[in-house]
């Protein structure tokens, strides 16, 4: 029998997923309350909700946590279901580009 051994990776990604899960569990309800309590609101009022720096920083951090969380999750799904290495790497890349794109669009929207 070939001796099994670990790839010596996985702890970091697992930790990232756990940490971002906690961050999202705290940040998402906070942000939701911040926006919901302001309703009903017109466009000008909606814009003022994004004026405080802490809202923009928190939104950006939340998006980053979401992106990292989604990355680990999607990576796990591809590891289970996509066996051809080339296809798997292409899908990894597609997810990274999509998530990084979301991050950049959000950054531009918040600090334009």
């Amino acid at each position: 029998m070939k001796s099994s051994t670990g790839a010596h990776t996985g702890t970091g990604t697992w930790l990232v997923q756990r940490a971002t899960a906690v961050a999202l569990a705290v940040a998402l309800p906070g942000l939701t309350i911040h926006f919901l309590t302001a309703l009903p609101v017109d466009f000008a009022g909606w814009q003022t909700l994004f004026v405080p720096l802490w809202v923009r920083v928190l939104l950006l951090l939340t998006m980053t946590a979401l992106a990292l969380h989604a990355w680990v999750g999607m990576r796990d799904i591809f590891m289970d279901y996509i066996q051809p290495v080339g296809l798997r790497l292409a899908l990894y890349l597609a997810v990274i580009v999509t998530l990084a794109g979301c991050e950049i669009v959000m950054l531009m929207a918040l600090w334009k």
Binding site: S3, T5, G6, H8, G10, T13, W14, L15
Partner: protein, 231 residues
Amino acid sequence: MKFRLYRYHPESGEKPHMQDVDLDIDPAGKMLLDALLAIKAQDETLSLRRSCREGVCGSDAMNVNGKNRLACITPLSELKEPIEVRPLPGLPVIRDLIVDMEPFYRQYRSIKPWLINDEPEPEVERLQSPEDRALLDGAYECILCACCTTACPSFWWNPDKFVGPAGLLQAYRFIADSRDEATAARLDNLEDPYRLYRCRGIMSCVDACPKGLNPTEAIGRIKSLLVKRRV
């Protein structure tokens, strides 16, 4: 009582099918294994594994009404009729209720389930403090029936790569053992996106374990040790 039994005889060339069986048996005080043996007395072609008939050897694990359990300690009176009995899921079926346990044992072997200690043997025995010994409680009692591992979707999907709850519980049993010297190598062996981290913590293993053990907790402790080592 009404039973629905999974039947598969590969040499007959027929596909697996469910067989309805009516058995005249008083459920009071009897276990499922008693009923299965009574059915086998009527129809000797029914194949199943059993040995100690008291929940110690772990050979009569099977899927009963959708849950993995040991037939010998499952009271008949607890079961809803028709009692549907199938082989353990996720392992190749050899015949009727008998599965090929090799994928399960291969993962078990891969964690080196023995004490590794290269120190010269002491005069009497390797002593443990009561506190160190207490760390093994909840880990050493596993009887390797495979109820937990075959209830785990991660194992169904990656039986060749994911160690599975039983193997990981045993891995923890040796990591926690104060007499074992190979902790670092054992953690190296497990630190892998598949071998350990395919566990998503859904706790099907805990639900299935007929000995009331908690593999998810042991897996959590292994992860904690790996995190401690890393940060």
